[in-house]
């Protein structure tokens, strides 16, 4: 079962390695598509930008550009939608984006995509997986774009409600609208709590995975899940939030499994085969603990087809034979058919050993070796095959010689050369003597 899972992992990694130039843009395309669709569904005030064509075009742009472009275009699209409903709210949103970029996002540009992934996953309560994964692959600095994403997620419903309110363009109403928005943002304690809990989870996962004890990675994810659950439970007790505890615990565990799956694809370590070595050089004495990675190669199934070659010219004959005779019709390699080789082409009764279960990644096939071509002059006149001449012959006997070829047979073979002269074109022959056969 485990070997099957490891084989699937190797197979998927191989596919990704071969096709990552296509897979990475595809992933960016789908993420961008989901993000833009989510924005259109939530705050789709401007119908011009809600069409499939616009969404697809924006997603295509994001597919070919770096992932930061998804964040930029998502912010731009949200501003365009809100501007259609309320110019003032759009201006306020723009200022909030400037503050978020200046204070949070610019320090971790590579993880900026997190600020759009969190609102995307939060709808399904899967956003708890983000700090767990970030703790495994990044530094605690990635808590900043995480906080950014949470602020955007909690701000969107407030902005949507405010933008949908029809207000007159006078100072009193605009001021009242602004005060309502800020009050709602400041009253939303869960936004700040979630940001703090996520920062804590990232730090806990990061710190624990740095340790060198066994299964540190798995333990760090478990600790992150526990920290997440406890953090939100404490927040629920203190602020009486609307968090459903059962759903929180369940989704935290699910997100922990997702984070473990992500780590599983990154590396798999075999803790049962740890090696400890000590050595020194001129400057230091080293205590080294080496944990081998499990890299399973896929078993390769080679299919060998035995095809009847009767009537076909064997162009490789000249490479194998010691001589090649051209120009004399009496001596032709075409005279040899498959029967002369006496090879059984039926491979159905060949049992192949499959050691792939005992030795993962290793497969041993027994292959029938191709018969070596026999020179034409060795063909006997009584239609016995050349190989049958060796029936009963003891090949291990060092004193044995090829005396089964009688004198008559050698003379018959030699006579084939009698008609050849040096003037014959492209004639190459070797004058075989008795000693050549011993």
């Amino acid at each position: 079962m485990i070997i099957k899972i490891l084989e699937i992992r190797t197979f998927l990694l191989k596919i990704y390695q071969k096709g990552r130039f296509i897979i990475n843009p595809l992933i960016r395309f789908f993420v961008a598509l989901l993000v833009f669709k989510g924005i259109n569904d939530n705050i789709g005030f401007d119908t011009r930008f809600m069409g499939t064509t616009v969404t697809l075009c924006l997603s295509l742009i994001c597919a070919v550009l770096p992932s930061g472009m998804i964040v930029f275009l998502a912010m731009a699209l949200s501003l365009v939608h809100v501007f259609k409903a309320s110019m003032f709210v759009a201006a306020l949103m723009f200022l909030v984006y400037v503050i978020l970029y200046a204070t949070l996002m610019r320090f971790s540009p590579k993880q900026a995509i997190v600020s759009v992934i969190i609102p995307l996953l939060a709808g399904k309560n899967l956003h708890y997986s983000v700090p767990l994964v970030l703790g495994c692959i990044a530094t605690p600095l990635s808590a900043l774009p995480c906080a950014c994403g949470l602020i955007i997620y909690y701000m969107f419903p407030i902005v949507k409600e405010a933008a949908a309110r029809q207000v007159a363009l006078n100072l009193d109403d605009i001021m009242q609208l602004y005060l309502d928005i800020v009050d709602k943002i400041l009253d939303n304690k869960m936004m700040f709590v979630a940001a703090a809990v996520f920062a804590l989870v990232i730090t806990v996962v990061f710190v624990i995975r740095q340790f060198s004890f066994e299964y540190a990675l798995v333990i760090s994810i478990g600790a992150g899940v526990v920290t997440n659950i406890l953090g939100f439970l404490v927040a629920d007790l203190k602020y009486s939030s609307t968090v459903r505890i059962g759903l929180l615990i369940l989704m935290s565990i699910v997100c922990g499994l997702i984070a473990y799956a992500a780590e599983f694809f990154k590396r798999v370590l075999d803790y049962t085969a740890i090696e400890r070595v000590q050595f020194e050089d001129d400057d230091y004495y080293y205590y080294v603990k080496a944990v081998p990675k499990i890299n399973l190669s896929m078993p390769r199934h080679n299919v060998r087809r035995m095809v009847d070659n009767e009537g076909e010219e064997d162009d490789d004959y000249e490479e194998h034979a010691d001589i090649s005779i051209v120009g004399n019709d009496d001596v032709r390699y075409e005279e040899y058919t498959e029967d002369d080789y006496n090879v059984d082409t039926d491979t159905s009764d060949i049992e192949l050993e499959d050691d792939s279960r005992r030795f993962p990644g290793f497969s041993m096939k027994k292959e029938t070796p191709a018969p070596e071509p026999v020179p034409s002059f060795a063909k006997s006149s009584d239609k016995k095959t050349a190989y049958e001449k060796f029936d009963g012959f003891d090949f291990d006997d060092e004193d044995a010689t090829y005396t089964d070829y009688g004198e008559d047979e050698l003379e018959e073979a030699d006579s084939k050369f009698d008609n050849l002269t040096d003037d014959d074109k492209d004639v190459k022959y070797v004058d075989y003597e008795d000693d050549d056969f011993t």
Binding site: V98, I99, T103, V182
Partner: protein, 133 residues
């Protein structure tokens, strides 16, 4: 006749130059403290912009209070409060960015050091080939 070792080293060098090495080569033009201070200056600029924007938003939020008590507000104390908060935020961000960018610079130099080591090895291989010729 191909020298496999040389091809291997050159391939690793080319991969590094194309991907990871680009920001590292940009960093190599600076000294460590120059790079950290330059980025700290950029941080100060951006945090100042964010603080001014935030201050404007807070001022608008408290506009009613400010207008009602325009004559009685202690502007000196208010100014010192605003400045104090600004200095506090800037201090945190500057220290954080100095430490962070210094660590980033150190890690980048380690990778660059490995790159130059491989480059030196390649150079010695070329020298050996020239000596044989």
């Amino acid at each position: 006749m191909l020298n496999n070792r040389k091809v291997r080293i050159m391939t690793q060098l080319a991969i590094y130059e194309k991907k990871e090495g680009r920001p590292d080569f940009r960093l190599a033009k600076y000294y460590k403290m120059d790079y950290a201070r330059f980025n700290a200056l950029k941080t100060i600029l951006w945090v100042t912009i964010a603080y001014i924007v935030g201050l404007i938003l807070v001022a608008i939020y408290k506009l009613e209070y400010l207008l009602d008590n325009a004559m009685t507000i202690d502007y000196k104390a208010l100014g010192w409060t605003v400045l104090g908060i600004y200095l506090g935020i800037i201090t945190v961000y500057v220290i954080g960015s100095l430490v962070g960018y210094s660590i980033y610079y150190t890690l980048s130099r380690k990778k660059l050091g490995r790159y130059y080591k491989m480059l030196g090895r390649l150079r010695s291989m070329y020298k050996e080939e020239d000596e044989y010729k």
